[in-house]
């Protein structure tokens, strides 16, 4: 089955891929290893997991002001996520999404952290602010 969520553009463009969902906010510099696209923060639920080519679904950004530079590095090293979906707008995530150049949306009409599960197939249309979710298993 397919579920459609509507929100607003953060970064334009279209991308699709497998969802990687976390309920923990993500720290950029010092929280990810840009050279492998892996979360490294000690107590993080995705510790050791790579977001390369995933549609990353998360509450938002925290931590160091090196957030944008860390994701920017991940992009040029070839380990960036394909798209980003998040709930809480901050300067870290806004700038980070812009320089990651991956389609990104926020302010969705349903909570993406509830609707989307890791492994679901997700299409992100950044310009229209539309997210289409195909569940991996029936609800």
């Amino acid at each position: 089955m397919m579920i459609t969520l509507r929100g607003r553009k953060v970064v334009g463009g279209c991308a699709e891929g497998e969802a990687l969902v976390t309920h923990d906010t993500i720290s950029g510099w010092g929280g990810i290893d840009p050279m492998t696209g892996t979360v490294i923060e000690t107590h993080h639920e995705l510790r050791g997991v790579s977001f390369k080519d995933k549609v990353l679904v998360f509450p938002g950004a925290k931590g160091s002001s090196g957030w944008s530079a860390a994701f920017h590095l991940a992009r040029i090293a070839g380990f960036a996520p394909k798209a980003m979906i998040f709930n809480v707008m901050t300067t870290k995530i806004a700038l980070g999404a812009v320089v990651t150049r991956a389609p990104a949306v926020t302010d969705l009409d349903q909570d993406p952290l509830t609707v989307i599960e890791t492994g679901d197939w997700v299409k992100v249309d950044g310009d229209r602010g539309v997210v289409e979710v195909t569940k991996k298993s029936p609800l």
């Binding site: 906010t25 925290k62 957030w67 944008s68 590095l73 040029i76 806004a94 700038l95 812009v98 150049r101």
Partner: protein
Amino acid sequence: MRLTDQEKAMLDGSEGPGKQKAMDLLVRYGEALGAERFVDVTNIAGVPGSSTMFLQNYYKEHGGGSFEDVFSRFDLDSDESVPFPQVGGNCCHLQGGMDPELWREQGMSREAFEHQQQDEAEVERHGIKVLKTCTPYLAGNMPAFGEHCAWMESSAVVFCNSVVGARTNTEGRESTSAAMLTGKIPDWGFHRDERRRGTHLIQVDVPVESVMDWGMLGYFIGDAVQENIPVVTGKLGPPDLIRHKHFGAAAASSGGVEMYHIIGSTPEAPSLDAALGSNKPKEIIYYGPEERRRVYESLNSNGRDLNVDYVMLGCPHASVEQIGEAARLLAGRKIRSGSSLWLFTSRAVKSVADLHGYTKTIRDAGGLVMTDTCSAIGRMLPQGTKVVALDSAKQVHYLPAMMGIEAWFGSTEDCIQAALTGRWAGEL
């Protein structure tokens, strides 16, 4: 976004390609935020143009490896290289990657050192002050109350908003570099009165006195409120600059705190009503002896082996008083053979520590006072480090995860004891 004529001129290239690329990035950033306009900024702190060997080598193969190439393609997120004009306003460079004199001890190559020297000369040549510190407010860049700034470095941002009452969001490398060329940043978040009022009330019911206490309280609050704005009240001695520095750095690491209020202490919190404005607290959070014990245990959850081989002090960069305290604790004593003690600060503060003889006292005991960087920023440890002792909750948050080592957290005195004996004996 609605642009002024001056901003439109920058965006259409009338003021040169450097400002055009900078404006293009800032417009994309402002639209991502949902901002409606820009605000003029007069004080900008970032890390313009700095490049690791990875970045330099990458851009050598993708458009060019010069300072201008890296600045254009990474800092301004441009697909082409453009000339880098002189910056406007009061701009400074924050922390860097290695000590300009002790880089060999830090395990850096001559090639990396020479490259850093070239970057630094370019920064200086373009009109940016080389402060090389995460504590610009201790090294020659103190904003004024109400001044609109564009700062990065989360511990400096929270200090700027909360302790000084100047106004900045947590900017990144790309936005600060673009602001250095344009003097603009999106008018969003902490530039606006309504965003600066408190959202959560923290009731402190256990004495918070030492620097370590303040670090633990900050770490607890950051985790509890995430990116919200805590208003702290209760059993609090009035914090001095060092306590603010450790409290804010910790709260910005465990969460995303960019501003806090301490009733009767910080400039925008003369009273609870003033700190909250029209907000009703979303939550009232209690910090008592049990919470204090739990945060201490959490900060020590990376420690197992009591044998400590490295002590790192100076996160955020040490003040003169902190270096003086370390010198007093080390005077006439020797760090255990096989252990290292590195204390990090800015060049400006170190020159005063040199004058007072603190640097020499620490060196005579076997420790080193280093500038510009820290173990996390420079990703450098004394050779063979397995277990580190730290007096900074922020550094505990980052260093063990980044470098794959164990860590203990305690007071400065606990850490110096560990350097002298080689054993961790810290207690709450």
